[in-house]
């Protein structure tokens, strides 16, 4: 089997969340989602529609840029589309998936990119949640976490920037945001989803070489461990070749330095 980096594994894990025909938005500062969209379109989802923060649809970049809103991500697009139009599409229920990063994610998939400590007097002021407070309330999301540890995966986020399942169960329905929610959490160690009743995070698969103990220790809450835990399928040689060709500068590795 070909050697691959954790970034490359995570990129294909995100790509596999995209089905053919899906409409997917890749945000700013999102190297792995960018790779995932390009991978999906190249391999298993040729009819997916790829929206990005360079404000285009379906670009065919020869090489990916450092900024995921950079000019290279406009190349051979079919149209320019300001993000507000893509958000309108999301609001009409016509966007299928967005990938989200977070400084903290809790067991119900709520994400924090606003503040560590009290919001008004934060210990650490974070950059802000970008699209999340809007999109997380109306559509499916997949969360990616390059550093799976118990300061990032916490029992309860200090502040809900992006809505997960709130307090779990039917809390989203009660809050008036019945649609969507986090579907998966892909980290550098494993893939997780949410148990349908409680909406609590549940292990799906361990990345090759990662132990269950390692994941439990790195997780700041009690993760649901199902009877069967698979091993994450590694990238194919073709996927690896494609990533290395389109990203010779290693943009996909930037979050892992």
């Amino acid at each position: 089997m070909a050697e691959y980096t954790t970034a490359e594994l995570m990129a294909v894990c995100l790509a596999r969340e995209i089905s053919d025909g899906d409409r997917v938005l890749q945000g700013l500062y999102s190297p792995l989602p960018m790779m995932a969209c390009l991978l999906a379109k190249r391999f298993h989802a040729p009819n997916m529609t790829y929206f990005n923060t360079a404000d285009v649809i379906d670009p065919e970049p020869k090489k990916v840029p450092f900024s995921t809103a950079g000019p290279a991500l406009q190349e051979r697009a079919v149209t320019y589309i300001p993000l507000w139009q893509t958000f309108d599409l999301a609001q009409r229920g016509e966007l299928d998936l967005i990938f989200l990063g977070a400084a903290q994610v809790d067991k119900h998939g709520n994400t924090n990119l606003s503040a560590i400590g009290p919001y008004e007097k934060p210990k650490v002021r974070l950059p802000g949640g970008a699209a999340s407070a809007h999109l997380c309330a109306i559509m499916d999301t997949v969360i990616w976490i390059p550093r799976h540890n118990n300061r990032v995966l916490v029992e309860k986020v200090d502040f809900i920037t992006g809505q997960g399942y709130l307090s779990g169960g039917d809390a989203r329905e009660k809050a008036g945001i019945p649609k969507g929610g986090p579907r998966k959490v892909v980290t550098n160690l494993c893939i997780m989803d949410f148990e349908p009743e409680t909406k609590a995070m549940r292990l799906v698969s361990l990345h090759p070489g990662v132990s269950l103990e390692q994941v439990k220790e790195a997780t700041g809450f009690e993760l649901i461990i199902p009877s069967e835990v698979k091993e994450t399928e590694p990238p194919s040689p073709e996927e690896l070749e494609f990533m290395r060709e389109i990203d010779p500068k290693g943009v996909r590795e930037l979050e892992f330095h």
């Binding site: 507000w84 609001q91 809007h134 309330a137 920037t161």
Partner: protein
């Protein structure tokens, strides 16, 4: 149509005032109007309320230079090159007021202003702390369906600063790449300053009206400023200057480092 060509200095002196609500173009480090931002800093503007969606170096620099009282934003970050440390420090010290948004709620604020409305409805937002802490987001009911929606208060900029590719001397502007919210910001604002890579003839505009992104009615000053986005990118003209951005990201790790950067790269220079 009146001629609107002027210098960077003149444009900022005339149209940016202490206390103004200032919308700033571009996204991340793409087509940020950096020359305008540096000139605002050199002219020592104060108490600005800056408004944007996903902003980087230009927000951080204005905040670090002490020009800013309030920030309406969804994200302030240098993307993969690190944190916007001036933003972080001043926010943690309570020295700037934060008006935190989702991307679409801050866009909707500008969209409301561009439509001449005091608010617009928006889906989502419920359950987020961003909704709960905001003074500019409220719950309303659709008068027809009874659905619960968020209402987003309009933000009307006094002035919008953008960098674009081409304009004629009257202010008919062409953005030859990602529009971002630049067009919306120009619509929404009382005044708009545009810096451009190239001045083109009005005949070129009239021969290709499809390519005009912002007509002259929304533009108050046109500044011929090649490389006006540097070190940000300007689609199809130049990519962002990674080395300069890394240098900035390094400098802002301490207030002293930022001060030195400011002296050397902004205050002691002219664009």
């Amino acid at each position: 149509m009146k001629e609107k060509l002027c210098s960077l200095q003149e444009a900022v002196a005339t149209y940016v005032h202490d206390g103004d609500v200032v919308a700033i173009g571009g996204v991340g480090r793409n087509r940020a109007p950096m020359a305008l931002v540096r000139e605002v800093i050199r002219q020592g503007k104060k108490n600005l309320h800056i408004v944007g969606r996903e902003k980087g170096m230009e927000f951080d620099m204005l905040i670090g230079a002490g020009c800013v009282k309030k920030v309406s934003f969804a994200l302030v970050s240098l993307e993969e090159f690190g944190l916007a440390m001036n933003f972080r420090r001043k926010a943690q010290a309570g020295e700037i007021e934060l008006d935190e948004h989702a991307c679409n709620s801050v866009i909707t604020s500008l969209r409301a202003a561009s439509m001449g409305l005091p608010f617009l409805p928006l889906r989502g937002m419920f359950g987020s702390g961003v909704f709960e802490v905001s003074k500019n987001l409220k719950e309303i009911e659709c008068p027809f369906t009874g659905e619960r929606l968020a209402a987003v208060r309009a933000i009307k900029p006094n002035v919008t600063l953008i960098h674009a590719h081409q304009a004629d001397k009257y202010g008919n502007v062409r953005i030859m790449g990602s529009p971002f919210e630049d067009i919306l910001k120009a619509w929404a604002a009382e005044k708009t300053i545009v810096t451009v890579e190239e001045i083109i003839d009005n005949d070129e505009i009239r021969n290709n009206p499809q390519l005009t992104s912002i007509p002259y009615i929304y533009i108050d000053a046109v500044v011929h400023q090649p490389k006006g986005a540097w070190p940000a990118s300007c689609d199809s003209y130049y990519d962002s200057d990674i080395e300069e951005i890394k240098a900035y990201a390094q400098a802002i790790k301490s207030p002293e480092g930022f001060q030195e950067y400011l002296e050397q790269r902004v205050l002691s220079r002219r664009d």
